[in-house]
């Protein structure tokens, strides 16, 4: 489960199911825990047209007849699968809400009051937000599934992390003001190009997760290689012992050949021949093993490492074109009768796009080092406190 995923609770299930059924033109009549649903003929769904009784979670233990509706119920899974594939592309506008301008943290956390704020949009901008499913798999670790949103500005091809946040908020359930989506107006080639950029940005953003799994997998592979090496070393020792035994046996037999009579000699010669053949066989296996050991068992290592390789699969699931406005934000700051207006680049859904520096020390104002005073000039907390 990732930040982007929505925790599946019963209320979300009911909220989603209700809106989905209504979007198919269905009607719902609620009687306690039972929903009487009528679904019309609709090409968009494979749900059968007609009447249906749904039983919400609270009615689960009762004997009432009806299709259960809860997070694991077959019905909910079915509409979820259907909805997930229904319309993977679309457009969402983010209109600048004059009353809800995001004031930068370096002002919010500071000591100066905001007396007026004014956003003047100059132009419309387009971005895309892609929801990616990423699965990271290797034999020794559990498969990880991530869902990540990546926002890319159409013109600059820059990543817009703040817009990702806004997008996730806007598409949560329940939403206070559900955005109206319309058809995506990007050309196929533009969309494809932006998708490529989003993929690159995605890979950068999940690098830490990949590294972690990569380390674990490498460690597991290493353990396996080491075990194999020890096993082979053990085999080498066994073979060496066997070879030494055979060698002694050959020596003994040679002695017997020299000192015994004809019959025994023939027998001993036969045995020595067999022992020598066996010796050769063991010796040859040993040589091969030594050689492989000296090279570090490259073939086996390769095989083990291949088996432990990380398989990362990236699947884009939805592409949303987001229309937002860019312009300037005038913020009037007041402190003990002194007022000063700061103008910053601003975008709806992405917040301020400019940074402001302290006029004394040139450090960038931030949530950790916010604005302390506007008297004289804009000064950060660090500078004002050292002046006091």
């Amino acid at each position: 489960m990732t930040d982007e995923a929505l925790a599946v609770t019963q209320s979300l299930v009911e909220d989603f199911a209700e809106r989905y059924l209504e979007s198919l033109g269905g009607t719902i009549e609620k009687r306690g825990d039972t929903w009487e649903v009528t679904i019309p003929d609709n090409n968009d769904t494979e749900l059968p047209a007609g009447s249906l009784s749904l039983l919400s979670d609270a009615g689960r233990d009762k004997d009432s007849a009806g299709e259960p509706l809860h997070p694991e119920s077959e019905f909910f899974q079915r509409i979820l699968r259907e909805a997930a594939e229904r319309r993977p592309t679309g457009k969402i506008p983010i209109e600048a809400d004059r009353d809800d301008v995001a004031i930068p943290q370096w002002i919010k956390e500071g000591d100066v009051e905001v007396s007026e704020i004014q956003f003047t949009p100059y132009y419309d901008r387009t971005a895309i937000v892609v929801l990616f499913e990423v699965s990271i798999e290797t034999v020794s670790e559990y498969q990880q599934e991530l869902l990540r949103a990546i926002a890319i500005d159409h013109r600059s091809e820059q990543r817009l992390p703040a817009l990702e946040e806004t997008f996730l908020q806007m598409t949560s359930i329940p939403t206070n003001s559900s955005p109206t989506t319309t058809e995506l107006s990007l050309s196929r080639s533009d969309a494809r190009s932006l998708l490529g950029t989003a993929q690159d940005q995605l890979m950068q953003s999940i690098q830490n997760e990949i590294d972690e799994v990569h380390n674990e997998a490498s460690r597991a592979a290493d353990a396996e290689v080491e075990e194999y090496r020890q096993l082979q070393q053990q085999r080498i020792q066994e073979l060496e012992e066997e070879r030494s035994k055979l060698s002694s046996k050959i020596d003994e037999l040679s002695e017997a050949i020299n000192s015994s009579d004809q019959n025994d000699r023939v027998e001993a010669l036969k045995k020595r021949k067999e022992a020598k053949a066996e010796y050769e066989e063991v010796d040859s296996e040993l040589r091969t093993l030594h050689e492989r050991r000296d090279q570090g068992f490259p073939q086996k290592q390769e095989e083990i490492r291949k088996r432990h390789a990380l398989d990362i699969r990236v699947t884009p699931l939805t592409v949303t074109q987001v229309e937002y406005e860019r312009g300037e934000l005038d913020i009037e700051l007041v402190e003990q009768g002194v007022s000063r207006t700061v103008t910053l680049g601003y975008g709806s859904g992405i917040g301020t796009t400019d940074t402001v520096q302290c006029s004394s020390c040139d450090s960038v104002l931030s949530v950790d080092n916010p604005l302390k005073t506007v008297k004289g000039s804009l000064q950060c907390r660090a500078c004002s406190s050292s002046n006091e």
Binding site: R87, G90, T181, S218, E226, K306, H308
Partner: protein, 584 residues
């Protein structure tokens, strides 16, 4: 341990063509929002919540916070592969019960195999059924066919690894594997280790209070079975985490981080378990001369008959137990053998035993029981006492006698239906008096409202004794508990009680401690009951018998001390580790 870079990373970007095709598709545009939400909901599943908790019957099982937490972490944070290593007595079985219940609820448990030491298999079966409503077949059940014939199996690990069953066990893909007393697989050269190593399963839960038996690398072996590679190679583990004298762990922070991915260890001091005191009063009585004569006759008969035909072991064992329980119990069994089963070989001996039974007019235990019940009437709330016996005939005899003496009595045995049992317990709680119960009570009933228990006779299986005591002395018991043990002098019962049970301090063991002693004993291969019986029938003289029991006691005590030592050692090793309840 530095970072590794030994394996390749292969990235596949799935085609976006299907999505881009929908650019020109028709359809209601507002549906896009629902698609985004559906995708996000899909990623949010499965929701990590113990959904089956509310289905549990609070009367059957009281869950503690650390147990719920452990089940949650094992399932959702460890992805269903965990080493549950709570200290002794904190309810690891309950944790597994919750896990299995949840998996059952989510239908991810098509096949479950629970491997336990032989003596604990039936106990597991009873607990899972009574507390969690989960029905398992045990390899000791008559209905058990083989490992491919049932989907929910509890078996002794030695049965599973036996030549007869091994291949069947290995041929199957199990959804869930539970391994109790997992430290017995720490040695990678044993058949047990080999079996677990080769088993195919999706989820695994290993239980042990003492993951480390001899040396710290035991931990490596057990953990590596669950999560290969978590510690890297054996050598790396050794070099990095174990200091050279083998007794302490180093780089503990990193080790804790790694262990936290697979191991849960709750400590008693961090939980809210608080048991009241337990007072044990063992009373041995001189049997009447007639009783003594009867005991001797039965013992001689048992010994003689066993030397001729060992196939009769079970029934002979039964007679030996009944003679110290009550003459009526003995009489019933002998009559059955004589008249129903036409026992001919020893008919004369059995007839003469029947004559001896008929001569008994005073049953010592029955008389003395009246003293105890009388004490209870004066000192315990509503005079509530539970009297346990192994035999229905003894039970009936006592009930008749107590009723005749004017006591309020209640009977509880395996013949009652579930709802009848419910009712009997309710009546006992409301009316007080004496509840006389057979060991069928030992399964799953909680009687915390009563704090006085009498063992009129004693099972030769210490687990059964623990189960009896566990009915009253459990979480939720607010008063001190009194246990009375009754035995006749110079009988097998006295040996078992005085020489064996008191040696391992059975009556003072906290829940769970006994399991570790018994499973250690099981390494020797025979069951506790068999060991007692064998000693009894094979001793040549009274002195021999005493010596034999003494030897068994020494062995038991050794096992107990070893178990204690191990527990202390493991506590020392994990001292300061935080592997218990999660932060949130």
């Amino acid at each position: 341990m530095g970072s590794y870079d030994l394996v390749d990373v292969e990235v596949t970007h799935e085609s976006a063509d299907d999505i881009l095709d929908s650019l020109s598709g028709d359809g209601a545009e507002e549906d896009h929002l629902q698609t985004i939400q559906a995708v996000r909901l899909q990623a949010g599943q499965p929701d990590s919540e113990l959904r089956s908790l509310k289905e549990l019957d609070e009367n059957s099982v009281k869950l503690l916070e650390h147990q719920v937490d452990a089940a949650y972490r094992a399932l959702f944070e460890m992805d269903g592969k965990a080493l549950l290593a709570d200290e002794v007595g904190l309810g690891k079985t309950i944790e597994v019960g919750m896990i299995l219940k949840e998996m059952h609820f989510r239908e991810t448990d098509e096949s479950v195999l629970i491997l336990t030491p032989a003596q604990l298999a039936k106990q597991w079966q009873a607990e899972l059924r009574e507390k969690f409503g989960l029905n398992f077949v045990c390899n000791y059940d008559d209905e058990f066919e083989d490992f491919d014939a049932h989907d929910y199996i509890i078996a002794s690990i030695d049965t599973a690894k036996s030549e007869r069953h091994r291949q069947t066990v290995l041929n199957r893909d199990w959804d869930v594997l539970v391994l109790d007393e997992a430290h017995y697989v720490k040695n990678e050269e044993t058949d047990r280790y080999d079996l677990i190593d080769r088993l195919s399963y999706n989820y695994a839960f290993f239980l042990t209070a003492t993951p480390i038996q001899n040396e710290l690398t035991d931990l490596y072996n057990v953990v590596s079975l669950l999560r290969p590679g978590l510690f890297g190679t054996r050598d790396v583990f050794h070099q990095y985490f174990v200091n050279s004298n083998q007794e302490t762990l180093v780089n503990r922070d990193e080790l804790q981080d790694r262990l936290n991915k697979v191991m849960i260890r709750n400590r008693r001091e961090d939980t809210d378990i608080d048991f009241t005191d337990r007072t044990i009063d063992t009373r041995t009585f001189n049997p009447t001369p007639k009783e003594r004569e009867l005991y001797q006759a039965v013992s001689d008969y048992v010994k003689g008959a066993y030397s001729q035909d060992q196939g009769q072991k079970l029934v002979l064992m039964l007679l030996q137990k009944e003679v110290v329980s009550s003459p009526v119990a003995l009489k019933k069994t002998i009559e059955k053998r004589l008249y129903d089963q036409s026992e001919l070989t020893h008919a004369d001996e059995l007839e003469s035993i029947l004559d001896l039974i008929d001569e008994i007019d005073t049953v010592t235990k029955q008389e003395r029981l009246l003293d105890i019940v009388e004490e209870a009437r004066d000192n315990v709330e509503m005079g509530r006492v539970i009297v346990f016996t192994q035999f229905r005939a003894t039970q009936q005899d006592i009930l008749d006698r107590l009723a005749a003496e004017g006591y309020t009595v209640h009977a509880f045995h395996g013949g009652h239906s579930s709802s009848e049992k419910e009712l009997i317990i309710e009546d006992f709680e409301e009316e007080g008096g004496v509840l006389v119960s057979t060991d069928s009570m030992s399964e799953g009933r909680n009687l915390q409202f009563c704090n006085m228990l009498v063992n009129l006779d004693l099972p030769w299986n210490p687990m059964r004794v623990e189960q009896r005591i566990g009915r009253v002395h459990r979480i939720g018991q607010k008063r001190d508990v009194f246990i009375f043990n009754m035995a006749l002098k110079d009988t097998v019962e006295e040996y078992v009680l005085e020489r064996l049970y008191h040696k391992i301090d059975l009556f003072q063991q906290s829940v769970g401690e006994l399991s570790s002693i018994l499973s250690r004993l099981e390494e020797s291969g025979t069951s506790f009951e068999d060991q007692i019986f064998d000693r009894l029938v094979n001793a040549d003289s009274e002195v021999d018998l005493e010596n034999d029991f003494e030897a068994m006691a020494v062995d038991l005590q050794e096992q107990r001390e070893l178990a204690d030592k191990l527990e202390q050692f493991n506590n020392g090793v994990f001292e300061g580790f935080d592997l218990g309840e999660g932060d949130d």
